[in-house]
Amino acid sequence: MDFTDIINILAQTVRLSVPLIFACLAGLYSERAGIVDIGLEGKLLASAFAAAAVAAVTGSPWLGLLAGIGGALLFSAVHGLASINFKGNQTISGVALNFLAAGLTAYLGTSWFKRGGFTPQLSSGQRFGPIQLPYAAEMREVPIIGPIYSGLISGHSLLTYLAFLVVPLTAWVLFRTRFGLRLRAVGENPKAIDTAGISVTLLRYQALVITAVLVGIGGAYLSIAAGAGFNPNMAAGRGYIALAALIFAKWKPWPALLVCLMFGFLDSLQLRLQGIKFPFVGEIPVQAIQVLPYILTVILLAGFIGRAVAPKASGLPYTKER
């Protein structure tokens, strides 16, 4: 394994962690505001489908991106209605919406495109392709810095760069703005917000909108940036892994980034392990490798965290007390 290999692995890590970063940060806004959102998985799926479908039909990745966000917004709206207005159980709402997304994307996909749930293959003009930063080609020969610049930093899609921008943006919003202060407050003690005359409902909906936008971009990334179309089960559990990452990161943006990168790294390793023959063991069955991220998530949830303490009002519908 030489330097180029390392660069490649790191670059792949970045690419693989992007949907997780978006989903994780999306969940952060919801959870900080006191809404439990198990439905990230379904939203990833729904937005991936919407983005790919619209991109295929209109030919524009930007419209696809908008559609992806729109799809996520729709699901968030239903979740908001159920959790905030009807004060229903947020966990069930999330689970139901995940099933709904799985069913609807498959159903509509097959009905509209008749390809067994796949959307039409996207050409490069219809996706967010890799962007070469200035002088990337020229820099490649420069020792050390060259490959890092041209292989690792340059060459990612627009959405990837966006993901890394959203992290510091989130940190800034949460801790330096009025909105962030109120958002954090409503997740810890919604009564404090209510008695200050601020609408708890509005704040929570605002959080849900941000969640939808972020996870919508994440889903769109899956189908129109990383891939060239939607395939059934595209999310593959990323929504749940993002939740586990969020808990592990104690609901803070920078640690969340690190955890997502770690998962991306493991994912990248996993792809390379397939087909390799090890001494004694022989070839590791593909299923054993595929299952690693899920097992790791379980270990994370069970092992190193102890009892992470969520924002106090998490999962509890807010009612004015009698």
Partner: protein, 365 residues
């Protein structure tokens, strides 16, 4: 929050019914949107589900699966837990059935049947116990862990079926078959009305399970403890009920219940272990549990409804190819959404209707 008062029957039957109707209405709208006729669809479905012997047999076969899954999720629900892992637990239980069946292959079904039940229950209980343990002792969110265990189960079973259990020379991914004599007795052998339907005596086990569930939850000390835990874990602690022990026991029992799906399918219908034999029943169980509000009568009715949906859906696949299995999944999700998360959405309008009809309630002072 003071909920608008409703007579008990409205609370338990009318509201869920209305929620289900709403789910179907929306499903119907989606069907319309892809250019199909929802009313004709309903007609075809009803005929397919009840109109002829084989159809009815299939409906009952599906219902069997859904009763077990529904009861499993309901049991966990009574303790305040969401067991989303029923699908994976049922899948893993297939191992129990096939191991015991192949070990004693040829044994008369009357002896094999109880053996299968025990073996499946053990495997299902174990697979559900682990997330239960993690929740009780480590605080890991059971919803997430059970979902992850579903994924893990798929990987494990995929490997075992394709690489370990598959007999040499076979092209399709499945295990060796169970002897005809050992398979669970199918009803059509003595009720010719069911013709080619796979419904078998596991159906009677399901009905017995309904009664057993009622007895367990409302007539035993264990059930008292489960319900106390589900309503108020702190009070349960006060009452000397061990939250940790109860969580683990309840999850194990839940897994054991849904394991009967494996007995029905691996032991009876398919007679061998094939990929994905659970076919989504674990997830249907969630819908059934919510629709039925965790009560055996509700679960039975809801399971029958979904059984009808599945069999009717197959019938539809012939006559109206535009409506697929995914549509059923969508309706299922809508049912969970409306009965589970938005259960109180229609409460106020319905309560208002009742208030108009009945005299004012005396003040509580």
């Amino acid at each position: 929050m003071i909920k608008a008062p409703l007579p008990r029957w409205a609370d338990v039957v009318l509201l869920p019914l209305l929620n289900v109707v709403l789910a179907f209405l929306i499903g119907g709208l989606i069907v319309l949107s892809v250019g199909q006729n929802p009313l004709r669809a309903v007609q075809v479905m009803l005929y397919g589900a009840f109109g002829y012997g084989t159809g009815l047999g299939y409906t009952l076969y599906y219902t069997t699966d859904f009763i077990f899954a529904g009861l499993a999720v309901s049991l966990a629900m009574q303790a305040g837990l969401f067991n989303i892992g029923a699908e994976g637990q049922a899948y893993i239980s297939g191992l129990g059935v096939i191991f015991i069946a192949l070990a004693f292959n040829g044994l008369h079904w009357a002896f094999m049947f109880p053996l299968m039940i025990v073996a499946a229950a053990l495997f299902g209980a174990a697979w559900a116990f682990i997330p239960g343990y993690l929740q009780a002792k480590r605080g890991s969110h059971i919803v997430i862990t059970t979902i992850l265990f579903n994924f893990i189960a798929i990987s494990i079973m995929s490997y075992l079926i394709a690489r370990v259990l598959k007999p040499a020379g076979l092209t399709s991914d499945e295990s060796a078959p169970i002897d005809a004599a050992s398979r669970v007795l199918q009803l059509k052998t003595f009720i010719p009305f069911f013709k080619t339907a796979p419904v078998n005596i596991t159906f009677f086990l399901a009905v017995a399970a309904l009664f057993g569930f009622y007895w367990l939850i409302w007539r035993t000390k264990f059930g008292f403890a489960v319900r106390a835990l589900g309503f108020n874990p702190t009070a349960a602690n006060y009452a000397g009920i061990s939250n940790q022990k109860m969580i683990m026991i309840v999850m194990a029992l839940s897994g054991a219940l849904v394991a009967m799906v494996a007995v029905n399918n691996v032991g009876g219908v398919q007679g061998r272990l094939i990929m994905n034999f659970v076919g989504g029943a674990g997830y249907v169980g969630i819908a059934v549990a919510f629709m039925g509000k965790g009560h055996p009568v509700g679960v039975a009715l809801a399971a029958l409804l979904f059984g009808m949906l599945y069999q009717g859906g197959s019938e539809l696949a012939f006559s109206m190819p535009g409506i697929t299995r995914e549509m059923i999944i969508t309706i299922q999700a809508l049912v969970i959404l409306f009965t589970g998360a938005m259960g109180d959405m229609l409460r106020n309008p319905v309560a208002r209707l009742f208030a108009l009809a009945s005299p004012p309630v005396a003040e509580k002072r």
